[in-house]
């Protein structure tokens, strides 16, 4: 006979789990006890939100499901933001929560919350395990659901008494989920239709999202783009799905995307939308988005097709399968013919690129935030995993770091959860210990999970952080400047009684956690400081003072069109 908690750990081992991000408590300590006897590494965060983001960082960097675990009640509710984040960005995650014993459920027992109920709208699926004999099946299903199809978070809630029971576990070899659709494959007729559309098009564009990355289709995309000579714009989630240094790359589109990507998407006569969901931050006023173009939507999730935007040709498919079939169908065609066919379009795009480059004004005394990112890009030669918080620094990171590989830009895109950056960097570093992992953060976002510096030090995770410190909630401040006549509504984050002084002192905070740190305020100190950050083999915090007057541009105001873009 095996104890429930041991069956849980065996189930995790069988799924190949190597690391669990977990903060113990009364109803999950049984599982922690079992984990002390397992080879699985347990990383102790300092807050459950941190562990959920760390699990996401692990999943985003590796493609394997991130596993986090918390106790009932406050432990479980603290996981909620991370679960929502994984749901919005389709990240494979298995979240395990302890629950009060069966006989206490529904009685407002100590540290009881109905976490299955709380998380219903933000999970791919969830389980409340009331029978110890269900544990093997539930874990098998949970991991299968988290990583297949459109990935997402799965929650498993297990009452403490179930963990303490004994049973003879029977581990299934396969899952039986009659209501879970098989991964769809592209209809060959639809593929032929796309080939026909390519021949008629004059201004085609590939608009590619996170589906390229979660579908592992970046190789197929590169091949397809090069063969057809169609330019590629990604979404924020799609960054890294196509090398941004490639001549066909337009970087990313949307509210703060490049002018050339937005112009191309809106003036395209054929838009090939692959693994995307026509998010409002991408389309602006959705009725006007690519108004005159023919839209093909290749998507794994049937509920995304036609959700925000009607499309001419929907193709329900795993994106990799669809791109493979497209590449196969193009086998006989010569790339040169496409190049000639779309030559005018490329001339137009080149003109836009020349007219509207991403740029910033250099300064002799201050450090423009964009320059920090570009310098980091140059010094890492683009070879690093970058995470971000949410806000101005996040957009600038997308703009001024050129990403060439999938799973190297990890950001909370759909949920926009501040505090994501540093714990996600911890998870990414655990998944990829040989890669340089750097969180480019804002002073506001960094403070939201600053306690995870302890995790970095204690667990010896050498994730670095660069704080672009403008002492403001920068993105909201930017909106105040643009749309609210600069009236400040609680967007100043330093000390109003000493507005000129730095507050808080991040260097001193980092030292308190035993983590080396440095502050720079002058442009001449930037490179040496980044050098130091890159060279240390421990965690590191670099606090860079940047002017708060910088705005993220270009900007298409909410629910407007590409023609309303603000350039200066």
């Amino acid at each position: 006979m095996t104890r429930g908690a041991d069956i849980i750990v065996q189930a995790l081992e069988r799924e190949g789990v190597e690391v669990v991000f977990a903060y113990p408590g009364g109803t999950s300590m049984e599982i922690h006890q079992s984990l002390t006897r397992s080879k699985i590494r347990v990383i102790l965060p300092r807050h459950e939100q941190g562990e959920a983001f760390a699990a996401e960082g692990y999943a985003r960097a590796s493609g394997r499901p991130g596993v986090c675990m918390a106790t009932s009640g406050p432990g479980a509710t603290n996981l909620v933001t991370g679960i929502a984040d994984a749901y919005m960005d389709s990240i494979p995650m298995v979240a395990i929560t302890g629950q009060v014993p069966n006989f206490f459920i529904g009685k407002m027992a100590f540290q009881e919350t109905d976490v299955v109920g709380l998380t219903l709208p933000i999970v791919k699926h969830s389980y409340l395990v009331l029978d110890i004999n269900d544990i093997p099946r539930v874990f098998k299903e949970a991991f299968h659901l988290a990583r297949t199809g459109r990935p997402g978070p799965v929650l498993i809630d297990i009452p403490k008494n179930v963990q303490q029971m004994n049973a003879q576990p029977v581990f299934p070899d396969s899952v039986d989920l009659p209501g879970y659709a098989e991964t769809p494959k592209a209809d060959p007729i639809a593929i032929q239709e796309v080939i026909g559309l390519l021949a008629k098009a004059k201004r085609p564009l590939l608009y590619c999202g996170g589906g390229i990355i979660s579908g592992g289709a970046h190789g197929e995309l590169l091949r397809f783009a090069e063969r057809t000579h169609i330019p590629v714009a990604t979404t924020l989630m799609g960054i890294g799905g196509f090398p941004e240094t490639h001549p066909l790359a337009l970087k990313w589109l949307g509210m703060h995307g490049t002018v050339f990507a937005n112009n191309a998407a809106n003036e395209a006569d054929l838009l090939l939308a692959i693994g995307v969901r026509f998010d409002d931050r991408v389309t602006g006023k959705v009725e006007k988005f690519c108004e005159h173009g023919t839209i093909v939507h290749i998507e794994i999730d049937p509920s995304e097709i036609g959700k925000n935007k009607p499309v001419a040709l929907p193709i329900l498919s795993d994106v990799k399968d669809a791109l493979r079939k497209l590449n196969a169908a193009l086998e006989g065609d010569s790339p040169a013919s496409f190049k000639a066919r779309y030559a005018d379009w490329h001339r137009q795009i080149a003109a836009w690129k020349k007219q509207y480059p991403l740029a910033w004004k250099p300064s002799a005394h201050e450090i423009p935030p964009q320059q920090v990112i570009r310098t980091l890009y140059e010094m890492t030669k683009g070879d690093a995993i970058i995470t971000t918080g949410v806000g101005q620094h996040q957009m600038w990171t997308g703009q001024f770091y050129d990403f060439t590989k999938p799973r190297t830009f990890l950001t909370s895109a759909g949920l926009g959860a501040m505090g994501f950056g540093y714990p996600a960097a911890l998870g990414a570093k655990v998944a990829c210990p040989n890669k340089q992992v750097i969180d480019i953060d804002g002073d506001g976002s960094f403070q939201m999970n600053i306690q995870e510096l302890a995790t970095a030090h204690i667990e010896k995770i050498a994730a670095k952080a660069i704080i672009l410190n403008n002492r403001h909630l920068g993105m909201v401040m930017q909106w105040e400047d643009r749309f609210y006549r600069s009236n400040r509504g609680n967007t100043f984050l330093a000390d109003p009684s000493h507005p000129d002084k730095e507050y808080p002192d991040f260097v001193q905070i980092a030292r308190g956690f035993n983590i080396p740190a440095r502050k720079v305020t002058h442009p001449r100190d930037l490179r040496p400081a980044i050098r130091e950050l890159l060279d240390v083999d421990t965690a590191y915090v670099l606090d860079v003072r940047v002017p708060y007057t910088e705005h993220v541009l270009p900007m298409i105001p909410s629910n407007r069109t590409y023609k309303d873009v603000i350039i200066a």
């Binding site: 791919k124 699926h125 409340l128 659901l145 009659p178 209501g179 999730d301 049937p302 036609g306 959700k307």
Partner: protein, 183 residues
């Protein structure tokens, strides 16, 4: 919502609230399924008119019949998201005339020695059934399509309805050649 003025204060979603939809949803017979399904409606401000659940011939599965009012496009979205739920096997969206719909109603009306025979006549005409008789009231059961049930109810109202409970419709797609004896 007859006055155009009223419309202005309504959200676009509620403009077409009058459109009635019947969904038949085949689900795995597991706890929590109902709340997952209901959540997709409530999260969008859809009110469920009626909802029925019971097991199918295979006790591992249940069939739900849900009647909702709302915008076609939003409902289409909900249907796709329902199909995505792991415990949902199949969703059928019935258009009027595609399906046979029946509901059961239990009705307690005032009926004493003076009015009882008239009430019984109406019960007979509608092929309803008296299941309990008291000195001052009768308890009637009837099943049928919504129109029949409504007509029966309106005639019984004059006796004075003491209590009523109705199941809301259950529905099944009709075969191409079948006909509904009540249409």
């Amino acid at each position: 919502m007859d006055s155009p003025l009223d419309c202005r204060t309504e959200s676009p979603l509620s403009l077409s609230m009058t459109q009635r939809h019947t969904l038949a949803i085949l689900v795995e017979n597991k706890f929590g399924v109902l709340v997952r399904i209901a959540g997709l409606f409530s999260g969008r401000g859809f009110n469920i008119d009626s909802l029925n659940v019971a097991t199918t011939t295979d006790p591992a599965f249940s069939r739900m019949t849900v009647v909702v009012r709302g915008d076609n496009k939003v409902l289409d979205q909900i249907t796709r998201q329902l199909e995505k739920l792991v415990n949902v096997i199949e969703v059928q969206h019935f258009h009027p005339h595609e399906a046979v719909e029946r509901e059961l109603i239990l009705l307690k009306v005032k009926a004493d020695s003076k009015t009882r025979s008239e009430a019984m006549q109406i019960v007979d005409i509608f092929r309803a059934k008296i299941v309990d008789v008291q000195a001052e009231s009768i308890l009637v059961e009837t099943t049928g399509a919504q129109r029949k049930v409504e007509a029966f109810l309106s005639l019984m109202r004059k006796f004075g309805v003491l209590e009523m409970t109705r199941t809301g419709p259950v529905a099944m797609r009709r075969a191409a050649t079948a006909c509904d004896d009540e249409d």
